[in-house]
Every structure is written in structure tokens, then in C-alpha cells.
């Protein structure tokens, strides 16, 4: 403070005392208002693309009441040419905790860069501290371009470099396909196993119907033929075809003679060496010969002959049916 003018004369001590009182009263207030935000740049000169850090800090004491600090809003650029790459956000620390535990410091670091050469002014950062608006000093960032040696020949850009094959990289790149393939194979294998087991599982088989004895089946067939009344309708040939087929099937199964593939003479010759009694053989022979005449020689028969043929066939089956002793085991 400069000395008071001499013209003030007797008022000089009063003024001096008043100023001293004002200073003594305002000292704490001045101390609170002495909070100064600071912005520093770790490197004021960088190359294009190089990174620099802007550190914003505010020191304050907490032993005289709470301090309300509102930090400036920082977007993705500081100016149009200086983008913010990273914002550390505000961190509060105690810079000298042992000696002065009431001294606090809030710090925020911004990582910046620039892609254009030139001199770029970073505008002041505006803080609001206890309702007062305070600003940091402006910063200047010099962005230099890379010096090009024009005396050297220009070179083409380098070819694309092919990285050597790496299984790890390949797996990392294709793992969804690999995992999907393994899953699909596993699903198909499971499906195959399920279907295979299901196919191998024995299906429930309905029990076969009880087999009727041969003579019962033959007599039923003869009865069915009789009920068709073929010869009564003039279809005598069909009647004898049916009759001989039933009888030949019976003889084949009962006496193991291949009667269906043999002629009448051959059947009779085979039966001579079979278990059929002689009487029944003599009973069968005229029946087969009469049937041959009807089937192959357009022979006309009398109704009595047709009835007699059926009766003879039924009697033959009944007389040669298996008895309890000679019934086949199967």
C-alpha cells in the first residue's frame, strides 16, 4: 500500500486506523475468496496427433466452512481443433494430510490432442466457487507438423503386412462357428442315438391268433366253397378247381406230398409211398380224375356227382385228420 498524501494532515492517523480495522475484519473473507482455479498444460508444444494433458485444480481449505465448487462443463472438444480424448473427472485429494488436514485439492485431468498444426488457444475454464465465477488463465498449445525432408525420394506406402497364421487368433475369430458346429453335431448325435435306441427297442408284437388244426381249416374251406353254390350257377369248372385246390393243399400239408406242383398221376404215385391209407387213396383217385375231366375236357357232370364229390372230399379229410397220437408237435 502506498503512503497517504501529506495534505490529508490530521486525518491521516484516523484513516490509517480505519484501513487497519477494515483489513483486520476482511482478512478471513479475503482468505476465502483467495481460492484460485489453476489450469496447467504439461506440454505446450506437441506434434500432430501427439497427446498432452491439461490439469485443472482447485486448492481450498475446509476449516472455515463448506466450499461449493462447480466445475466447468467440458464437451468432446476444447476448441474446434483440440479434441478431448479422455476426461479423468474430478478427484479430491489431501495434498498435505499430516501437516494441514484441512487443505483439500480437487484435480481433473484432460487428455487432449490436435490433428491440425498451428497455435491453438485453449480458452479459460470457468469455475463457480461459492457463487463467484472464477476463470483460469488461457493456455496456448502449439501443434507442430512433422518436418519433411524433400531432398529424399518419395516412397510409396508400404504393402499390407500379412500376419503369420495363429491358431489362437483363428479360434478367437471363428469361435461362434466352431461352437455352433460342435453343438449341431452333438444335437445330431443325440438325435441319432435316441432314434437308434427307439428302432432297436423291440416292438410289441400282437400274439399270433391260435392256429386251427389242419382238418378244421380244410373243412371250413370246403364249407365255404359249398356255400358259394358254384355248380348250381353253372360254374362247374370253378367248383372243381376250388375243390381240388383245397384237397391238394390238404394232402400237401398232411402227407408232405408236393401236390400243388404235381399232376393227378404224380400225386397218386406219391401218395402210394405216404401214410395215407390205401382206402382213402382209392377214394381220392376218382375224385381227382373227375375234376381233371371237368377242368380240362369240358366234362358235364350231374348234380349228384357234384354233391358226391363234395361229400367224398369231406369224408376223406375227416378220415385222414390228425388224431391225438400222430398230431404234429408244432
Amino acid at each position: 500500500m502506498s503512503r497517504l498524501p501529506a495534505s490529508w494532515g490530521p486525518a491521516r492517523p484516523v484513516i490509517t486506523l480505519g484501513l487497519a480495522c477494515i483489513c483486520a475484519t476482511a482478512a478471513p473473507l479475503l482468505h476465502a475468496q483467495g481460492i484460485v482455479p489453476v489450469a496447467t498444460l504439461d506440454s505446450s508444444s506437441i506434434l500432430i496427433g501427439q497427446q498432452a494433458h491439461v490439469t485443472l485444480s482447485v486448492d481450498y481449505r475446509a476449516d472455515h466452512g463448506a466450499v461449493n465448487i462447480q466445475w466447468p462443463q467440458i464437451g468432446d472438444t476444447l476448441t474446434g481443433k483440440v479434441p478431448v480424448l479422455h476426461d479423468s473427472h474430478v478427484d479430491t485429494i489431501l495434498p498435505d494430510k499430516q501437516h494441514d488436514p484441512f487443505l483439500f485439492k480437487q484435480v481433473r485431468t484432460l487428455t487432449i490432442t490436435s490433428w491440425d498444426s498451428g497455435y491453438w488457444a485453449i480458452p479459460p475454464f470457468r469455475f463457480t466457487i461459492n457463487g463467484d465465477t472464477l476463470e483460469t488463465a488461457a493456455l496456448l498449445l502449439t501443434v507442430n507438423t512433422v518436418a519433411v525432408d524433400t531432398t529424399q525420394a518419395f516412397r510409396d506406402i508400404k504393402e499390407i503386412y500379412t500376419l503369420p497364421f495363429s491358431l489362437v487368433d483363428w479360434l478367437r475369430e471363428h469361435w461362434p462357428w466352431i461352437a455352433g458346429g460342435i453343438a449341431a453335431v452333438a444335437i445330431l448325435a443325440a438325435l441319432f442315438i435316441v432314434l437308434y435306441k427307439r428302432a432297436r427297442r423291440p416292438k410289441p408284437v400282437a400274439p399270433p391268433p391260435p392256429v386251427q388244426p389242419l382238418h378244421v381249416r380244410t373243412l371250413l374251406a370246403l364249407e365255404a366253397l359249398q356255400q358259394q353254390q358254384l355248380w348250381q350257377q353253372g360254374r362247374t369248372k370253378a367248383y372243381y378247381i376250388g375243390l381240388t385246390e383245397i384237397l391238394r393243399s390238404y394232402v400237401e400239408e398232411r402227407f408232405q406230398v408236393p401236390a400243388l406242383e404235381q399232376t393227378t398221376d404224380e400225386i397218386l404215385a406219391s401218395l402210394r409211398m405216404s401214410a395215407m391209407p390205401r382206402g382213402q387213396q382209392e377214394q381220392l383217385a376218382p375224385l381227382l380224375r373227375l375234376a381233371d375231366m371237368v377242368k380240362f375236357a369240358k366234362w358235364s357232370t350231374l348234380p349228384a356227382e357234384n354233391e358226391q364229390a363234395m361229400a367224398s372230399a369231406i369224408r376223406l379229410v375227416q378220415e385222414t385228420a390228425y388224431t391225438g397220437n400222430d398230431a404234429p408237435l408244432a
Binding site: A238, P258, L260, T263, F296, A297
Partner: protein, 344 residues
């Protein structure tokens, strides 16, 4: 069981009566069969089957090929048959140097008349014995087979009909195959029957010795039938009734030789290279009718088909290399077919 019947084959009373009349007519007309058989038995001991087959071929207007060892009365049989029927007989011994003209005849120049005259060959006879047919080259065989088929031969610019009845009986020796000309399938197919002769039984052979070494001369055979009777009988044979069930049976048998797999005989499918031709079906039907005629019946029954079937099919079924390697014979294949195809 198939009891279906085609209404067209249902026998009305009139048809039945017609067949009954035919049956009686055939019973009368076929009486000469017993006479022929009796005369043949005077000279030939045993070989009843061969005589039966000769008659079948004669009545069915076919030709017959006989395969058997020498000395089985093949020549004697057809010579005797020609005497019984009272027809001409020629025996031609086939040799490698035989020419077609030696069979059919040729044109001979007459210096006196200054013109060519026809000299007919031995083919101009009713019954021909072509002995060892496989010893002549193919062109001679071809000349004979053409005459058999066409019943006529051409000499120079004139065609001459062969006499009726005309029957060729060819023989083949199963041994001594060296230097022979086996008949191609297409040529042997022209023979209606191929019979295989076996040796006579012991009892028959004793009788043969007695007949040929005794003091008495061989009995002479009588002419018991006129050639025209044979021609008439051939017409009657064609009239023998064959039911459609028999026709189906014949077709089934022949078809089974072509497609055994379709007739439950897949096991022999690999053994057959080719089966019977449609000519086999025709000859089997004609043979069955002729056989029924010799049994003095006016209708065919399955026995008739089975009687002629082996002789009709024997030379019409080709065996594969597999069959020959396994020593399978055609007769075994035919037996299998006959025992598998269902008889009507």
C-alpha cells in the same frame, strides 16, 4: 385259390357234346398208335420213350434231335418207323466235306439232250436220318434246317416241295466233340424235340443179345398205316382241346425259364443265360396235343405238358458259365421249374 373262370370257357352242353364227339373220333383215329407201337416193339427192344417221342414229333409235324451214344438203335428206330408207315427213308451221314448240293440235289448237264436236268438229293424222302449232324459245316446244316422249316428246296431256278409227311431225325454224339460244328441256338431251335437216350436196362439188353444172335432172323415189320393217315392224324392233333388253364400252365413254365425270380426260383436265376423262346411255347402246346393223341385222348391234361416239356426245353435253355462251373445240367433246371410251377 383261384376259382375265377372266364365265361367264354364255360362249357355249354353243345360244346361239351362236341368235345365228347371229338374224343370218340380221336379214340378211333388213334388206334394206329398201338399198331405202330406193336410193330416197333418187334424190332426194337426197350427204348419205348424214343419211339413215343418219334411218334409225337411225327404227329405234331415237327422234327426231332436225338443225343445218345452209338448203338442205341437210333437208326433202326426211324428206319423201322418208315417201314411201318410205308414211306421213303434216307440216311445221310454228315461229314466235314459234305456240301449242300449233296443234300438237296443239283443240276446235271446231259450232253445227249444238251440240257440240264435236276438230280434230286436224299432230302427228297419222307423220313430223313441226319446222322451226326454236328460233323458237317454250318452251310450244310443251314441247308438242312432251311428245308426242315420251309418244307421245300430250290435247285437252280425251280422250287420243289418235299414229300409229306416229312420228318427229320438228327443225331448227335455226346462224345468225340473234336472237329465238330455245334449247332447254334437259332438252328437247334428249329427242332421240336431234343431227346436224350440212355442205355437199355439189363433185362432189355439180354433180349437185344438174343434177338441179334439167335438162329432166327429178325422179325419183319408190317405196314400198318398209310402215309395219308399220318397227314389226317396231324389235322386231328390240331383239333385236340386245350383248356386255357393248360395254356397258362405252358406259358408259366416257359416264362419261368426266362424270369425264374418271378416264380420263386431266384436261386437258379444266375444259372440261366436265356430261356425258352415263343417257339418253345408253340412246340410245347403242339407236343402236348400230340402226346394226348398218342394216349388216345381228345383233350390235354397237365401230364401231357409235363411229358413233353423236358424234350421241348432241353435245347432252348442256355446255361451260364456259373452253371457250367458248378456242373449244373439243363435237365436239373427243367426239373426245378416243373417242381415249382403250380399245376392247374
Amino acid at each position: 385259390m383261384n376259382t375265377e373262370q372266364n365265361p367264354a370257357t364255360v362249357a355249354p352242353a353243345s360244346t361239351s357234346d362236341t368235345l365228347r364227339a371229338l374224343n370218340e373220333r380221336i379214340q378211333q383215329a388213334s388206334s394206329f398208335v398201338d399198331l405202330i407201337d406193336g410193330e416197333m416193339q418187334k424190332v426194337i427192344v426197350g427204348q419205348k420213350d424214343m419211339v413215343q417221342k418219334l411218334l409225337v414229333a411225327l404227329l405234331a409235324d415237327g422234327h426231332i434231335m436225338l443225343e445218345g451214344m452209338p448203338g442205341l438203335a437210333k437208326t433202326l428206330a426211324i428206319k423201322t418207323l418208315s417201314e411201318v408207315v410205308d414211306v421213303g427213308f434216307s440216311r445221310i451221314q454228315f461229314t466235314p466235306d459234305l456240301l449242300p448240293a449233296d443234300l438237296v440235289g443239283t443240276m446235271v448237264y446231259s450232253p445227249r439232250n444238251e440240257e440240264f436236268t435236276v438230280k434230286k438229293g436224299p432230302l427228297f424222302s419222307n423220313f430223313i436220318l441226319a446222322d451226326e449232324i454236328n460233323r458237317a459245316p454250318a452251310k450244310v446244316q443251314s441247308a438242312l434246317l432251311e428245308a426242315m422249316q420251309e418244307r421245300q428246296v430250290t435247285i437252280g431256278s425251280h422250287t420243289y416241295k418235299l414229300p409229306e409227311p416229312f420228318l427229320v431225325m438228327a443225331t448227335m454224339n455226346p462224345v468225340e466233340q473234336e472237329g465238330t460244328y455245334p449247332l447254334p441256338e437259332a438252328q437247334s431251335d428249329r427242332f421240336m424235340l431234343k431227346a436224350v437216350l440212355d442205355y437199355p436196362r439189363k433185362e432189355e439188353e439180354r433180349n437185344i443179345i438174343r434177338q441179334n444172335t439167335g438162329a432166327t432172323a429178325r422179325p419183319a415189320v408190317q405196314k400198318v398205316i398209310h402215309p395219308q393217315d399220318i397227314i389226317n392224324a396231324r389235322q386231328l392233333v390240331r383239333e385236340v382241346y386245350m383248356d386255357e388253364k393248360i395254356e397258362s400252365y405252358i406259358v408259366d413254365i416257359v416264362h419261368a425259364t426266362r424270369q425264374p425270380g418271378e416264380h420263386r426260383m431266384a436261386d437258379i436265376a444266375q444259372m440261366i443265360s436265356f430261356g425258352g423262346s415263343p417257339r418253345a411255347s408253340i412246340y410245347m402246346a403242339m407236343g402236348a396235343k400230340a402226346y394226348a393223341f398218342t394216349k388216345r385222348r381228345g383233350y390235354v391234361i397237365p401230364e401231357d405238358v409235363r411229358a413233353v416239356c423236358p424234350d421241348v426245353l432241353r435245347h432252348r435253355i442256355g446255361l451260364t458259365y456259373e452253371a457250367e462251373a458248378e456242373n449244373i445240367r439243363v435237365d436239373e433246371i427243367i426239373g426245378k421249374v416243373l417242381n415249382t410251377v403250380e399245376v392247374p
